[in-house]
Amino acid sequence: MEVANEVAMDDKAKRMRDLLSSFYSPDPNNNNNNSNNVSSRFATLDTINTTSFDADQYMNLLVQKSNLEGLLQRHVEMAAEIKNLDTDLQMLVYENYNKFVSATDTIKRMKNNIVGMETNMEQLLEKIMSVQSKSDGVNTSLFEKREHIEKLHRTRNLLRKVQFIYDLPARLAKCIKSEAYADAVKYYTGAMPIFKAYGDSSFQDCKRASEEAIAVITTNLQGKLFSDSESIQARAEAVMLLKQLNFPVDNLKAQLFEKLEQFLVDLHLESKEIPHTSADQGNLRESATSAAHEASIREFAEAVRAYRVIFHDSEQQLSRLAQNLPKMHFEATQQHIKTQLASCDLVAMLRIIWTDVLLMDEVLPEAGLRDFTMEAADVAVKQYIASRFSHLLLDISGAVVKVGNQMEGVEEENCLQATLEASKKAVLQGSMDVLLDFRQLLDENLELLSKLRDLVVDWVQEGFQDFFKKLNDHFLLLSGKKYPSGQDLSFREGIQGDKILPALVLVLAQLSVFVEQNAIPRITEDIASFFSGGGSRGYENGPAFVPAEICRTFRAAGEKFLQHYINMRTQKISVVLNKRFTTPNWVKHKEPREVHMFVDLLLQEVDSIVKEVESILPEGVNRKHRRTDSSGSTTSSRSNPLRDDRMVQSNTQKARSQLLESHLAKLFKQKMEIFTKVEHTQESVITTIAKLCLKSLQEFARLQTFNRSGFQQIQLDIHFLKTTLKDTADDEAAVDFLLDEVIVAAAERCLDPIPLEPSILDRLTQAKLAKTREQGPTS
């Protein structure tokens, strides 16, 4: 419609349009200005509908742009549009006019209606005034009565309270009867302020009576608290009520705690007995006691739980208490470990501990019992392993030391052999048992132990390493090759009282060889198959158990002991020889009449060595046949007179030119290898001892000065030895050589070295042989 309004061709229409637009549009000026500006600049055909329409310009533009036909068509269109706009305008004017007419009518009606209003309003005011005055009248008349009523109401409340207080004792009694302690306490605490205010005066009796009742309640509550049969809630409630009654709960708490502690102590005693009974009696009893134990632990756990519920802030205290449980357990375990303990027993004990701990842990997770137990088990198992090893060490040393104790017995060699075997067994079987025990530890499915697995492996390996080192030390100590330092001084003194026996040293030597060749490989094998892994030790350190090192140690030790044995034995012989050479006055020696008795002593000594050695050491491989014809004594040399005769014959020949011969021999002979390396065989050891003794004989001879007879005596003795020692020692050539050397040494130290006639030498030797043969069977 606006568009239609604005279509005006002349000034009148334009004024009309401006008027209308000023009426309808909010901001015609603005629009006008803008469109004017635009129209002056941009002259298009579209500006016809804008306010700034310039008809001439439009006309010019139209003429310029359109052809005639277009203009004509435009003319027709425009005429139609103008006609339309005219009708629209007429319609608009008409409508507006209508509105004016109706407005005038309305105003006329209003003028008529307003006339009677004034009087109505005055009437209303009047009525309101009268209502107000009446209400004021009612108010004043009711005021006094209301105050009275309020007073009465207050008094009634007070009276009710007084009534309550007077009723309180009775009510409390009723509550006690029905055990409704909670109500009783509620009543009592409600009455408390009044009692506090007036208790000393008006309500004295009442107060006393209710206090008595409350005292009863208190004791009842305490009883309830301590009775285990009550439910935990009831007990907790009792404590709460007591607290509300301002009862010193801490005391109760302490008492209850003591009770718990006592419980634990009782338990401890029980747990101490368990292993004993299990060791002594059958499984039935064992299971019974363990069941009893478990039950009591359950009870304890329950008690702890109750306590915890009852006293909320008691975790720390309880934790400490609960930690006592494994602590006590482990103390008991440690005591058992100190005495010998099989691993199954240990495992059983650990299992009990673990179940106990799990029970407790459920109740009291704050105590950290699992961790605590882990740590303690760690220590206990370590201790156990260590103690097993030390027991093993003691066992072995016990087996070895038997050598000393039984040596006085009749069947020496058997006994030696037996001890050696026993010691070997102690080493091997003992180690195997220990390993088996430890394996049990590993095999056990107990959570506690499976966590320690790696550590156990390491400990076992380290344990063995350490054990063998200690064993070696111990052997050294036993043999007297090592001197005790500090702690084992007292132990050592026990041994030193009776002197170290050579046989013991020999047994140790053989045992060392056994350890090196048999025990270590077995143990290594077992360790490799069951105790490999570990690894908490760190790889750069390598495995804890180094068998090669131990083997090396024991090989060295074996050699050392063997050498020590030889030294001890030769030392003993040296004493005999020394006495022989230092006692007589050789310069004034009498003519030899018979072979000197020191030869007997010497042979006797050698004999006992042979016996000892043969019972302990193995035979050499290369000389198997020897055993049959020597059989550990010198009898065979006597039992073959034919051969002896021949020997003597040749020896007498030799004796004549002996001195010269040996001197010459010395010149041409290669330097005799007298001192060869000792092996762990009978022959090697005996030969070595024989050689060393003969060498000593030579050295002793060199220290003396002989007259002719002295020299001849030596010559005779040596001659006799030649026939008798031959079979004992393995290395005949060396022995012969050394015997000759003795004679040479004596000759050199002789003022007048004229050897004995071979015939005399022969005769005396035969006489001696006959004599020993005579004595042989009788003795």
Partner: protein, 350 residues
């Protein structure tokens, strides 16, 4: 030294047991040795190592009336020495002086300046105080200990004091403490006895039998080294006599003698009847060492045996370090062969 381990040899005519370093001779490395022959005329040889160290030269050859069982050189006068001798049943000990200008004389005679003839049983050895001038001399027989005061200028020796060790303890030798001229160690059949010469009393003893020879460590006070027949060498701390501080295996047969080096600490030389001389380096553990040792350490010890000289034909009884050139030692085997060796190739590098 040239020749490596091959020592310089020198042959005596007869068998011999004793050799001693001439300590007072500061210009030359020389040794005194005496023969042990029952029937022939015995000799004392003064041997000098040539300055090149390749030759042993006989500087003096003196006849000695009896076979010599022990010989000790005076530590402050190179011409004086003492011997212990015997022949058959007789025995004796004497102090001798090598005559001056002996080089010019044809057959120089030793001058006997004193006889130590107070002994009533077989004399074992004579001792001079090893460290310096001390006009005293100790002689030991099987049962007695004699302290002689010896006057060089007056040329006589008198018994200062005398004490019996008891009939049961047959003494076999001894050593004089180089750190203290009042202390003396004696070897007897069953023990080592420590004596104080001021009181002439036994102060202490080590109950360790079969000690054949012993020597004080010159460089370490309180250290005593003993050699036993069978059980090798032991090193003792005189403040702790219960157990030895160190064991050395010694020799295959008897360990006859031990000698501590006068200059190098812990260097010990031993000679044995297995015809060998062993050179040891033995450092006794000091204080807290055993506690720190780990498991592995005891099994990788340094072998204390530095070298074994085994090129001998017979038992070696005589052994002496040279004080002048402390890396040199002389050894004497029973067949009368003196061998001077240098230990230099075997000494550990410092």
């Amino acid at each position: 030294m040239q020749g490596g381990s091959n020592g310089v040899g020198y042959g005596l005519k007869y068998q011999a047991r004793c050799i001693a370093d001439v300590k007072a001779d500061t210009d030359h490395t020389s040794f005194l040795t005496g023969t042990l022959s029952l029937k022939e005329e015995n000799e004392v040889h003064l041997i000098r190592l040539s300055s090149t160290g390749t030759e042993l030269i006989c500087e003096g050859l003196f006849s000695h009336p009896n076979e010599i069982w022990d010989l000790a050189s005076c530590p402050f006068d190179q011409r004086i020495f003492s011997t212990v001798f015997s022949s058959g049943e007789t025995y004796g000990a004497a102090i001798w002086q090598i005559p001056e200008l002996y080089g010019q004389l044809n057959s120089p005679q030793l001058e006997r300046i004193a006889s130590l003839d107070a002994h009533s049983s077989k004399i074992k050895c004579t001792l001079w105080w090893p460290t310096g001038r001390h006009d005293m001399l100790v002689s030991i027989d099987e049962q007695n200990l004699f302290l002689w005061s010896f006057d060089t200028s007056k040329k006589n020796a008198q018994v200062q004091s005398q004490e019996s060790a008891g009939v049961l303890h047959s003494l076999s030798g001894g050593a004089w403490d180089p750190h203290d001229y009042n202390a003396l160690a004696l070897t007897s059949e069953s023990s080592v006895q420590l004596w104080d010469l001021r009181t002439m009393k036994k102060t202490n003893s080590i109950d360790h039998p079969h000690v054949r020879n012993l020597d004080y460590n010159v460089k370490r006070k309180y250290m005593l080294v003993t050699a036993e027949d069978e059980s090798g060498i032991h090193i003792w701390d005189l403040r702790m006599l219960k157990f030895p501080v160190l064991d050395l295996p010694g020799h295959t047969h008897w360990t006859w003698t031990v000698k501590c080096n006068p200059e190098y600490e812990d260097l010990i030389l031993s000679a044995g009847t297995d015809s060998a001389v062993n050179l040891w380096l033995a450092s006794p553990p000091s204080g807290d060492k055993p506690t720190t040792e780990s498991f592995d350490s005891p099994y990788k010890p340094v072998d204390p045996l530095l070298n074994s000289y085994s090129d001998y034909e017979d038992s070696v009884y005589g052994l002496a370090w040279s004080c002048r050139e402390p890396w040199i030692f002389a050894s004497l085997s029973y067949d009368g062969r003196v061998v001077v060796e240098s230990t230099k190739p075997h000494l550990p590098r410092k």
